[in-house]
Symmetry: C2
Subunit: 423 residues, 2 copies
């Protein structure tokens, strides 16, 4: 038995927490700190941690749980209500960055050296990475500004939900196309699509069966919530595994669908809080650090520096233009369209999850992790600044939003638990 | 990337839960179910799960957390109060099973085939496995009978605390003696003892430094309990790693001491509840299953069957005689001494943790896992039966016990959290 993994875990947890505290002090999300911790501990700087199989598997488990939680937190009821406008905004906000990323990658000739997946897939993959919006920083900023309940605020929340799902579809298609990983033949498009559709059908059937069995069981035994949490975990792991093993679909797609299937059920708050504990105490730090560990060097050639600049600008411009255009089509005012576009700029952990996933399939060379990490960090920093600017001088319209209340309720609930546990 | 581990985890979680439910229905602890799940899934039966490096490391992490929690839940204040009587009872209750186990092992000539650690260590190791008492089932039974607050009940609780610590010392000495694992030379006794003492000093110093830094920090920032939990996790992992790496001491000894160091601090309830979540959702099921996985065959030769019978009887008799004798010396009545002895019979997860630890060091052949699992299961089943018998016809004396109240408070607190989360 080798005990190195204990040292690795101790270093990962300690440094993500320390870096997280520092980034929080300067009002950046803690994710940024965790990423930097990985870069700092990994081969690019100190070289204290290697990416062992244990770390890789734990990190993969962390990603699966993250996507499972994203799925569980998707409010399908809200999704239906948010309606056509949100859908159009999200769709334009996915297509424009997808094409923009592809164009930049094409211009730089990415993937044309014959390594990894076919060049066109690698180029589209850069686009897929740019699609994933993370609105948590936007929500925080808008709440702080008291603009959460404006028309623009509501549109952002609705569009972000749909954005997640569209992004997952794009990811599913491209990872399935890359199929067996580096060197393997690319599967024909029709077969890939048939497999994806087949998996979605299986997932829906599984969800229906789960709900029927679950509701029977829950009525039979309402007391022990722990076991419900474990059973939902098993459901998530099983769908993730089935996706990879039998359909060539990404495991995180399976995990997301599993989460979506549970999103409406009772006890979902309790379940989510338990998975949160599992995530923040062990799995998330390992995942974010392992992204940082993938950076083998922080020295960048001038070509890569220019690529970074381009990708950051394109990430910024395509969301503003795409979402703004979508909003304008749906008869939002020019100012509102700009606000919506700006609100959708920030990318977060999902972009990293997607990148990490692609690396394993030969869809992206790990040297591009540096530009992507910089893109994530930059869009996260710039969003609040730009938001304050575009919302300046506007009175709060105080439209009520169920979603905002949900988030607030959840926070209150968490505070209550903390309060209780301090007694 | 290999996705088998997702399937393994799903199977482990599902089957430990299912077996756990069944064993609970027939009033056995869920641990028994988890063990059986491992046997069922492993090479002895279905062969669905292999013991990969990932499973082994995760299981080791589970053990570390279990011992950390045992340490945290040790009430040092109560330990001081429980006084001389509890100490004498615990000491006799450790020495007699240690010698009894050694005698049986010697009789069967265990370890004399030249494999693994020196024979005498392997023989003493069987004794060490027999020392660890687990009183949770006793506490449950006594509460049910309304006898928790009797003189005997109090003595059992006090002795069980000290038993844990004495057991850890025995384990530390013997694992350190076995040193570098199979095939390696045995270190001289004096060097091993020096290293152990040195590690205890380092652990105490670390605890003092931790407390000084921690209290400063806590006063500075009382709000975010999460980070305190993570820092205590880092402390545990670091001590576990340092123990193995620099002192040749078992990692679980380090984890236990780390827990002990934190046992008096505020927020310990909150911290423990978070580690509980991490344990029951992932790490404990993996650990118990992996013990079951170690059983490569459930076919037993007649020699092994007789050894099993002997070890079960010796486990039973030595605790009753050892603890009973200790109690008698401390002027408990004959009946009380018997009650105390019977209350200390049941072995639990610690015996399995010790056995698992020894297997990695060549201190025990894995074929003896079958007798040990049977011993744990049998002593756990028989304890409540015998307790009901020896406590028959005695009125409850209703002496108040802080410890019982503590346990009740904790349960109430957990129910409150569940209640809250259901809203």
């Amino acid at each position: 038995m080798d005990y190195e993994f204990l040292k690795f875990l101790a270093l990962i947890l300690l440094s993500t927490k320390l870096f997280g505290l520092v980034t929080r002090k300067i009002k950046l999300p803690q994710v940024v700190g965790a990423l930097l911790a990985g870069v700092f501990l990994g081969p690019a700087c100190l070289g204290l941690i290697e990416k062992t199989d244990f770390i890789s598997s734990l990190s993969e488990l962390g990603v699966i749980l993250l996507m499972f939680t994203v799925g569980m937190e998707t409010d399908i009821g809200e999704l239906k209500k948010s309606g056509k406008a949100s859908f159009v905004i999200a769709l334009c906000g996915v297509i424009v960055p997808l094409l923009g990323g592809f164009a930049v990658a094409k211009l730089w000739g990415i993937g044309e050296n014959g390594q990894g997946a076919p060049a066109i897939l690698q180029q589209f993959f850069i686009g897929v990475i740019l699609t994933a919006t993370s609105v948590s920083i936007t929500v925080e900023t808008l709440k702080e500004l008291g603009k959460m309940s404006t028309r623009a605020g509501n549109a952002i929340l609705g569009a972000a939900l749909i954005d997640d799902i569209l992004g997952i579809i794009a990811l599913t298609v491209i990872t399935s196309l890359a199929g067996g990983g580096e060197g393997a033949d690319t599967a024909p498009l029709w077969l890939v699509l048939v497999k994806i559709v087949a998996f979605f059908i299986v997932a829906i059937l599984a969800a229906v069966v789960y709900h029927i069995v679950y509701i029977k069981w829950r009525d039979h035994d309402r007391k022990d919530l722990r076991r419900h949490t474990i059973v939902s975990f098993v459901f998530c792991l099983a769908l993730a595994w089935i996706a990879e093993e039998f359909f060539g679909v990404a495991d995180i797609t399976g995990a997301f669908l599993a989460g979506l299937a549970l999103s409406g059920s009772t006890n979902v708050k309790y379940t989510t809080s338990k998975f949160d504990t599992l995530s923040y105490m062990l799995l998330s730090p390992v995942f974010f650090t392992s992204v940082g560990l993938s950076m083998t060097s922080i020295k960048m050639g001038s070509n890569l520096i220019w690529f970074t600049v381009a990708i950051v600008l394109i990430a910024l411009a395509t969301k503003v233009v795409g979402c703004g255009l979508g909003a304008k089509v749906c008869r939002y005012t020019g100012k509102e369209s700009l606000q919506i576009g700006v609100g959708m700029i920030s990318r977060g952990e999902v972009a990293l999850i997607v990148a990490q996933k692609g690396a394993g399939l030969g869809l992206i060379d790990e040297k591009f992790f540096v530009p992507i990490i910089i893109m994530v960090v930059f869009t996260t920093i710039i969003t609040p600044v730009l938001l304050k600017f575009v919302f300046k001088g506007q009175a709060d319209e105080n439209v009520d939003s169920q979603l905002v209340r949900n988030i607030e309720e959840r926070q209150k609930f968490e505070e209550q638990i903390q309060e209780l546990s301090r007694k």
